[in-house]
Symmetry: D2
Subunit: 136 residues, 4 copies
Amino acid sequence: MADNAKVKELVSKCMHAREMAYCPYSRFPVGAAILTAGGDIITGCNVENASFGLTVCAERTAIQRAIAEGHRKFSAIAVTCDIKDSFVGPCGACRQVLIEFGTDWVVYLTKPDGSYKETSLKELLPLAFSPAHLGN
Amino acid sequence: MADNAKVKELVSKCMHAREMAYCPYSRFPVGAAILTAGGDIITGCNVENASFGLTVCAERTAIQRAIAEGHRKFSAIAVTCDIKDSFVGPCGACRQVLIEFGTDWVVYLTKPDGSYKETSLKELLPLAFSPAHLGN
Amino acid sequence: MADNAKVKELVSKCMHAREMAYCPYSRFPVGAAILTAGGDIITGCNVENASFGLTVCAERTAIQRAIAEGHRKFSAIAVTCDIKDSFVGPCGACRQVLIEFGTDWVVYLTKPDGSYKETSLKELLPLAFSPAHLGN
Amino acid sequence: MADNAKVKELVSKCMHAREMAYCPYSRFPVGAAILTAGGDIITGCNVENASFGLTVCAERTAIQRAIAEGHRKFSAIAVTCDIKDSFVGPCGACRQVLIEFGTDWVVYLTKPDGSYKETSLKELLPLAFSPAHLGN
Ligand SMILES: [Zn+2]
Ligand SMILES: [Zn+2]
Ligand SMILES: [Zn+2]
Ligand SMILES: [Zn+2]
């Protein structure tokens, strides 16, 4: 989808975003970076809470921030955490929040060393429940 | 997985559970029924909230109820809602809550007329982030 | 509100419910017990998730379970956790879920030794946003 | 707390933030603006989801955005929505997310006409469960 330099920038920014994580409970920092349709990059980190259920993941922080800044169309997201030995996708909640804003996301799962695997939201969330099902 | 009579019972109970839904905001009732490893069936419905983010889906209501009743191992879940023209999977958040309690779930997506499609959590949540990734 | 024997039963059941908690991440078990308008008692425990934001508190588990069982009117809730040196209220999310089902809740904050403090949802959630504000 | 001009700016910015709301399900736009200890203002709006439970309020969007931008200390928040005839506080979930980052928040509840009522998180969340209770 995006050109190679843009993907590198996206991956690099998600790794930097991880450093902003507020995660005193899990000590599991996560970073995310979103590429908007217009070419902007918006980052996010996980923000935990003593009432664990009020925790929000890095991917959702990035999306919510993007929406608050006026973006509505997106093309890709890169995510990274401390898992070194495999490529792990976003949690299911984040996949659902991605699909709220389109089905054509490219997803870059990034290891701490910067290597990444390219996948897509369509692969990650098959048989998805989406806004269309509520008649919106 | 389960024998045919048990699947029929599971599907039937998820349809009845839908009638308990508290959904004044979406007017979109959903029902779920979980089959435990021991053969018990636990049902749930969606429970909405004026602060929408505190809404919980039928699937999660069923799982939380099962946990509160002491169950920890499960083999299947049936879900139904008002969507007539396609089989729709649980939202991503519910898929993540299912995987917290095992990867081997059979999932029955059920239409209002009682017809259902069999799938599995492995199909629905590829490249999943799971408890093992936090070292638990 | 309730007679003394009923309060004792409610407090006792919330302490037992705590033993069902699924809390591998926080290791902070919480129990709750709800008294319905009809005099039934429904219990709940916290149910955590590797994606912390999908965690649900004991109070909400109890309410969701009650709704799934057909209850809609409630008069009291008792909650207990491991905090020994002070009486701590439910998290804000749970207070909001309580008010969805009425403003007249009596709340019993219970210590591990069984001693409790009586308060109310009105005290715990002043200037509340409630279903009425959405026109429901 | 803040000088009068700063409060006016905060209130004004929360009203503008409301215009960014993504709320196709509730059609109830909400805006929030946070004042950091350093004098910066960060805004947020509600971001809804077809799976209602994945909705996030304006106040939380603002806080998560602030955290992602590196802020950790805050002094005030202003919130506004369409309710004209009374001053309504943030939902309980948002109150809990506020207290994660300090107990000394001043809270400005703002009507659509720009008039506001000053309160505080201490008033809004008595007997709070807070990070200290988990030993953090
Ligand atoms: Zn996530
Ligand atoms: Zn769901
Ligand atoms: Zn709670
Ligand atoms: Zn809120």
